[in-house]
């Protein structure tokens, strides 16, 4: 869950550029702005041309925390930053392959260690300042500076050494890696190129982290994305306007983006989002639950609902396998004896009715999963991974082998006892704000009851849940979900590696606690530096097998990506990768004669 989206900072240089900017803001120039000097190398996108103008209103689940890519950690901030910033090489959310962005081309040296990127000529930031190799150099200097604590830093350390960046000429940059890196140019996706002219001074003063609050003045903030800051109304909305210098155009030569304004409405929860969409206040909706999707589908009025197919989210149950040493209460130690028993975890996995989860929680709009690679990821899943059907007999046999036994109560209900004759009972945490996972936990509770386990479901507010799982480590088991941001294994690296922060069953270990965790670590590290897809796939397949054998996470189900948009929205093509609907925001347009000014 490392954050990689990036963005710009607020400037403190005022005066001269500002005056020019104010004039510009007053009269947003339609089409391409005046050009001087070098010719702009615009990225021409194929496909149907849209119509310019209008306003697109979308909802955001609450206020973003920041516009600053150097500190953004929440998904809301990343979504907003995603439309205000641009990266060198971008992963096309529809094809899941890389495509040129700010860099028009790139070359990887024969030893796989040097990446040469050539920037487009004549590009400008949204405040009209030109982009060149110095901005790129500055950007990576900031990301790699330990004092900045940018979340992007981890991704730029390859083979234990930070990537070295060298300028060849004003539009060519070479990235030198210490070790081959399997991820290749995907590495650049989401790394926003920052405006040196705005940020260099605050950087030298060490104030970068304080920049980019939502209250930043529109002329103090800039980026290379399709939209730029216009207005922020606390608690209500964030209004972005079209970046007249944006570097993409459609096949007919119309400069993108099509819409003049993009409005993010802050809507606190999923149900409110549905209501806003239903009443026509917002134009698109994404991250929909299956039940709300079917409600909207049933009463379609001027909008289209789309099931984009399996996504990259995986939901799972895991047990507390932390070794908290002397701090562990005797009760937790007793329970951990069961949790550490691999046959116990395998038995739980065998008893889970995944089909029922897909049916009851996702109304069939989802898939049962047995591994971390969700079905939306077609390249990296291990097809040989077994998909055993639910079998209570197998579960009981496994428990018996592990020394568990049953006692029969007066009403015919059986209770599972461990080898010391103690009743097997534990609690499962779920996030109280996520109805889907609460439902999964209730189904698990009933599944495990049939094995004689006494399970209680404890809904907790998400923050305190996360605190228990990663900090205090006082819990028995927990149901959680993670959505990978990219199809590449790289995006789940912190789940795989034993020192990762989202290696949830036992996070941030100094040394791998078990031999199989050590093996996964080795496989994943090797996979990272393997050069061909085939080599990487082989290693990654093996890692998936080790995970499936040991079941530290018991995978449950993965939902489809569900979205909807008004019929008046053109080019609406939701992808299964984040940001599901806004990935092609520059190409979304309002069809002829439709005006949607609703707020």
């Amino acid at each position: 869950m490392k954050n990689r989206r990036a963005n710009f900072l607020c400037c403190q240089m005022l005066l001269c550029p500002l005056i020019a900017l104010v004039v510009l803001l007053g009269h947003p120039a339609p089409g391409s702005p005046q050009q001087k000097g070098t010719k702009e190398e615009i990225f021409v996108l194929p496909g149907d041309a849209g119509r310019s103008g209008g306003r697109l209103v979308v909802s955001l689940r609450g206020e973003p925390k920041t516009l600053n890519p150097l500190i953004a950690a929440d998904s809301r901030s990343r979504e907003v930053i995603g439309v205000m910033q641009a990266d060198l090489v971008h992963i096309n959310r529809a094809t899941q392959l890389t495509e040129p962005a700010l860099a028009k081309s790139w070359k990887i040296s024969s030893d796989g260690l040097a990446y040469t990127l050539v920037l487009r000529q004549g590009l400008k930031f949204s405040d009209g300042q030109p982009l060149d190799a110095d901005d790129v150099l500055f950007t990576f200097r900031v990301y790699l500076d330990e004092n900045v604590h940018a979340p992007q830093r981890d991704l730029l350390i390859v083979g234990g050494k930070p990537i070295a960046v060298r300028k060849v000429d004003s539009h060519t940059v070479v990235f030198q890696l210490a070790k081959t890196y399997g991820v290749g140019e995907r590495l650049f996706d989401g790394l926003a190129i920052l405006p040196r002219h705005l940020l260099e001074k605050p950087y030298q003063e060490g104030k970068l982290g304080q920049l980019g609050t939502l209250a930043t003045a529109a002329d103090q903030w800039t980026g290379l994305g399709p939209f730029r800051l216009k207005e922020y109304v606390a608690g209500q909305r964030l209004v972005l306007e079209r970046n007249p210098y944006y570097w993409k155009s459609d096949a007919k030569g119309n400069r993108l983006p099509y819409v003049d304004e993009l409005v993010f409405l802050f809507v606190p929860n999923a149900d409110a989002q549905v209501l806003k969409f239903q009443s026509g206040e917002t134009d698109t909706i994404s991250q929909l639950g299956a039940e709300n999707f079917s409600v909207l589908s049933k009463q379609q009025r001027g909008y289209t609902m789309l099931d984009a197919g399996p996504g990259l989210e995986y939901n799972f149950l895991f047990f507390n396998l932390n070794d908290a040493g002397e701090k562990t209460s005797p009760e937790t130690l007793r329970k951990q004896k069961w949790f550490r028993e691999v046959k116990f975890r395998q038995a739980v996995s065998a008893a889970v009715d995944r089909e029922a989860i897909v049916r009851l929680v996702y109304q069939g709009r989802g898939s049962a999963i047995w591994g971390l690679v969700a079905p939306g990821n077609r390249r990296w899943g291990n097809e040989k991974l077994a998909h055993p059907a639910r079998s209570l007999e197998r579960a009981r046999a496994l428990l018996k082998e592990a020394g568990f036994s049953w006692s029969n109560g007066p009403n015919g209900e059986s209770t599972l006892l461990d080898s010391d004759g103690k009743t097997v009972e534990f609690s499962i945490l779920t996030s109280s704000s996520n109805a889907d996972r609460a439902k999964m936990a209730a189904l698990l509770q009933d599944d495990l009851k049939q094995l004689g386990m006494r399970v209680q479901v404890v809904p907790l507010e998400f923050r305190s849940l996360l605190d228990r799982v990663t900090q205090s480590k006082e819990y028995d088991a927990c149901v959680m979900g993670i959505a990978s941001f990219d199809a590449d294994p790289n995006s789940d690296i912190n789940v795989w590696l034993s020192n990762g922060g989202t290696h949830l069953w036992n996070p941030s270990q100094a040394q791998p606690a078990t031999p199989w965790e050590a093996e996964i670590d080795r496989l994943i590290e090797e996979q990272m530096s393997a050069r061909t897809f085939e080599q990487r796939k082989k290693l990654y397949d093996r890692a998936q097998e080790v995970l499936a054998e040991n079941q530290p996470m018991i995978f449950l189900a993965s939902p489809n990506i569900l979205a909807g948009a008004k019929n008046s929205i053109g080019n609406f093509r939701p992808a299964v990768l984040e940001p599901y609907v806004l990935w092609n925001v520059e190409r979304l347009y309002l069809k002829n004669g439709t005006e949607n000014a609703a707020r």
């Binding site: 409600v295 049916r359 109304q363």
Partner: protein, 351 residues
């Protein structure tokens, strides 16, 4: 006289209603936590007398419902086989009144399941959950009211009878209790408790909390009655004959409070049932899958349930007869009390 008759009428109504809930195991066809995963959000089944071919049947019957193709919550009737409703069938084991282990159920169908009030998200029978949920909610109301009245009686009697600093202290404490923001305190309290609370612990916790919260009002009422009756002639006379404080309270003063207490009970019980429902609705009550009326309603927090499945509202309606019963009882009790008072005061004016 008519007051007495209405009183009896309400008592019978309440008796019947509570009887149904107490015998939930017998009347409900299924186990309230049993999940029928093939039938989530199944709408209430219709009882038929005439089948699809127009033939009349002597016994009412149901058609089982199946999912419409390609849908996950739209059902259609399978009119091929009618399933007649059978009475006194053997089914899942339950304990009548918590003691007797039985298998006999009032009604059911062979080879099919009857969902009179539909099912919830997990395919659990709403009708069975409603009845079993009533056991939790009503018991919470009754026990909570009992605790409240007991505390209120003790504190009110002490404050009213002994007076002085004890009176001031207790009444200030009562005011404090009336002023506290209970719901938020409860959230805080829940945060301090261990993570997983078993259903039984949670149940007693709720009872303790709602019981302890409401004592201030009955205590004040009791205090008022005690204050006035301790100066009555027969009390003074008894004291003059050397009666002790305990004897006076027990024989002469507390019996005077009975009509106030009974009226309070009839008002408090539905209030406390509602309190339990509120707490469970907010997730502070008995944990799933144990049913209570508040738990049943908590699924209405989701917009999709709110607009799609009308039968999920039924638990809200079930309270209506109970509340009417209790409020009717309260008002007839009050009438009786007043008639009694008028009688007495008119007598008093004669002498």
């Amino acid at each position: 006289m008519s007051a007495r008759r209405t009183f009896a009428k309400w008592l019978v109504v309440l008796g019947v209603l509570h009887g149904i809930v107490v015998c939930a195991g017998f009347i409900a066809p299924y186990d309230p936590v049993e999940q029928d995963r093939k039938s989530p959000y199944l709408p209430p089944m219709r009882l038929h007398l005439a089948d699809a071919h127009g033939h009349l049947h002597t016994r009412p019957f149901v058609y089982s419902l199946r999912l419409r193709e390609g849908s996950f919550d739209q059902y259609e009737e399978d009119t091929a086989v009618p399933h007649p409703v059978k009475f006194f069938l053997s089914g899942t084991r339950y304990r009548l009144l918590g003691l007797l282990s039985c298998r006999m159920h009032l009604f059911g169908a062979e080879n099919a399941r009857i969902y009179l009030l539909g099912t919830d998200a997990y395919g659990r029978d709403q009708f069975s959950r409603l009845l079993f949920g009533g056991q939790v909610s009503l018991l919470a109301g009754l026990l909570g009211a009992g605790i409240t009245l007991f505390i209120g009686l003790c504190i009110g009697a002490v404050a009213g009878y002994y007076g002085g600093w004890r009176d001031s202290l207790l009444m200030r404490v009562a005011e404090l209790f009336l002023a506290l923001p209970w719901l938020y305190l409860l959230f805080a309290l829940r945060a301090f408790l261990p993570l997983a609370v078993s259903p039984l612990e949670a149940f007693f916790l709720i009872i303790a909390v709602i019981g302890a919260v409401g004592w201030a009002r009955p205590a004040r009422l009791v205090r008022g009655v005690v204050l006035s009756s301790k100066e009555r002639d027969f009390v003074r006379a008894a004291r003059g004959f050397g009666a002790t404080n305990g004897y006076l309270l027990r024989r002469h003063i507390l019996p005077e409070t009975s009509s106030v207490l009974l009226t309070q009970a009839a008002i408090l019980i539905p209030q406390y049932v509602l309190a339990e429902m509120t707490l469970s609705f907010l997730g502070l009550g008995v944990p799933e899958p144990v049913p209570s009326w508040g738990n049943l309603l908590s699924s209405l927090q989701l917009y999709s349930v709110l607009v799609s499945y009308w039968w999920m509202y039924l638990p809200a309606l079930i309270m209506v007869p109970f509340f009417l019963g209790y409020l009717g009882l309260a008002s007839s009790l009050q009438e009786r009390g007043e008639a009694y008072k008028i009688e007495k005061s008119s007598l008093g004016s004669l002498t």
